[in-house]
């Protein structure tokens, strides 16, 4: 599918989904749906750096919270419409992503990951001590009860996050088969060989951290309006970092579908567990699923599906050979 066609399809699916969602009479649906959509954005954003480029980022919460806190800061300075806040949050986190990339991308593997974790701690400390945005006490945001056309504000937040999900997925899909995407894949597989093949690895890694960070910031920007009270402990919650790693891992990291499936699956399970069992159980579920997937399906749900397809194709070919008399040209199945 051409990128333009895919964008169109994504927008149509998004619009249809929103249309269907409006039929749901229960407000809680939007409350829970927002969180799942937010994880689609976060998981997709994480995957651009982690899955495509192979750099595991433990600092998702930092980029996410920075987006949220730029909204808090602006809320106090001048009132801006939510879409503008989203752009600004994305911009701030993108800049920080670029800076982090510049400082840490000479580190590889676990060392890079540790540096991102450190970044999250440093950011949280800074925000906790910044009185203007509430410090450790946190900040209250008053959100309008209603918005024109849509009614309840939560539906508006849901729509904004849905648009961001479509945007994130569209970007991820466009990157995948593009020059940039091939460059990312080369870096993931072997950085030295990538350089030798002419790939400007540092520049591409910076592009990945910036883009990934910006999308995370955009996902975080509406958060203060969603929770209406934001403190550093919840903004920088470890769950954001853990989930945005677990979701692509469970879904599959090599394509845009993986994070989407992972976020839908894990996000929904978590929401269900929150209302039926207990909200504290969430991370336990994530942990158990991660262990299960690492053992059973190391390439995620997408990998499992591909292996299944390949085995069907293989079986079909074998039948074909038998019918063709055994030693007819033995065609190898692709992969």
């Amino acid at each position: 599918m051409r990128p333009a066609t895919f964008w169109l399809a994504a927008v149509v699916v998004g619009a249809a989904f929103f249309g269907l969602s409006l039929q749901v009479p229960n407000q809680y649906y939007f409350q829970a749906g927002y969180v799942v959509l937010q994880y689609i954005v976060l998981a997709t954003a994480w995957n651009i750096l982690g899955g495509y480029t192979g750099y595991v980022n433990f600092g998702t919460a930092a980029f996410f919270a920075l987006g949220a806190y730029s909204t808090v800061a602006l809320y106090k300075l001048l009132p801006l419409p939510l879409p503008v806040l989203v752009m600004i949050g994305g911009g701030v986190s993108g800049v920080v992503g670029f800076g982090m990339g510049y400082l840490t991308l000479r580190l590889r593997g676990a060392f890079f990951s540790i540096a991102t974790l450190a970044l999250a701690v440093v950011m949280q400390t800074l925000i906790t001590n910044w009185e203007f945005v509430g410090g450790s006490r946190g900040a209250y945001i008053l959100r309008p009860a209603q918005v024109p056309l849509l009614g309840n504000y939560i539906i508006y937040l849901f729509l904004v996050m849905l648009v961001l999900s479509v945007l994130a997925i569209g970007i991820a899909r466009s990157i995948e088969r593009s020059r940039l995407g091939f460059g990312f894949a080369a870096i993931r597989d072997d950085e030295q060989a990538a350089e030798a093949a002419g790939v400007p690895t540092l520049r591409l890694k910076l592009a990945a951290t910036t883009l990934s960070g910006a999308l995370m910031g955009m996902a975080g920007a509406p958060l203060p309006y969603y929770v209406t009270y934001l403190d550093p402990a919840s903004g920088f919650n470890l769950a954001y970092a853990v989930n945005s790693i677990a979701m692509p891992l469970i879904g599959g990291m090599t394509s845009w579908v993986g994070p989407l499936i992972g976020a839908l699956f894990l996000g929904t399970v978590q929401q269900l567990a929150t209302v039926t069992i207990s909200s504290a159980l969430n991370l336990l579920i994530v942990g158990l699923l991660l262990v299960a997937f690492v053992v059973i399906a190391p390439n995620g749900i997408v990998g499992l599906f591909n292996a299944f397809l390949a085995s069907i194709r293989e079986r079909g070919l074998r039948k074909h050979w038998k019918r063709a008399g055994g030693d007819a040209v033995r065609r190898e199945s692709p992969r």
Partner: protein, 246 residues
Amino acid sequence: MTAALLEVRDLGKRFGGFTALDTINLSLRAGERLGLIGPNGSGKSTLVNCLSGTLRHDSGSVRFDGRVMDGLPAHQRTRLGMARSFQLPKPFGSLSLADNIRIPLLYTVNARRHGRHLAPAELDGRCGELLQLVGLADKAGRRPRDLTQVEMRKLELARAMAAEPKLLIADEAMAGLSHSEVDDILALLSALNERGITVILIEHIMRAVMSFSERLIVLVAGRKIADGPPQEVTRNPDVVRAYIGE
């Protein structure tokens, strides 16, 4: 005399207190086939890494195709026409063979064309041609993990070739291969050389080096101890001493 394609002046590289390369001088004509030999640890791979930009040299300078390469990152040297293969093949494991070739096409050939990029069909065509050249065309959709050692080396060479280099540095492209496989790779390198590509061959297999090279350079402990026609160099007493001992 035509200008040298590669001109290395007083190249030096140290790792801590260890001198890996000590004032190496060498020059290479366009179209030449140069063999580079030396015992293990003599600095052959370090020299390759310094030439190709994987390592930064500490002193001296490298001129390639009329440009000073000092301080240029590896990807820019590749774009300027200096390609290399790795001693241990480093394929892009998650990509198909065709996509392995596509990467240098996208990042070197397209980068040189300043906006007039190859069309997707042209790209596919070139990937096919290059795989054909090394005899891997029927495996274009496979992953590198399905390849044998010799096929892996061929993929490595095809990927280096995709960058349309003027100079190809083949770092032990034949290590661990069987007699007939060595001949395969040699034939391939000769074919590339006939297309006008200058080749530096780093190799332990003397049969291969002797039959391929027009000129031989010997490195011992980071120093160049001999440079000349292969037959003469192998009779050089210093070289004999380095390999066999007193």
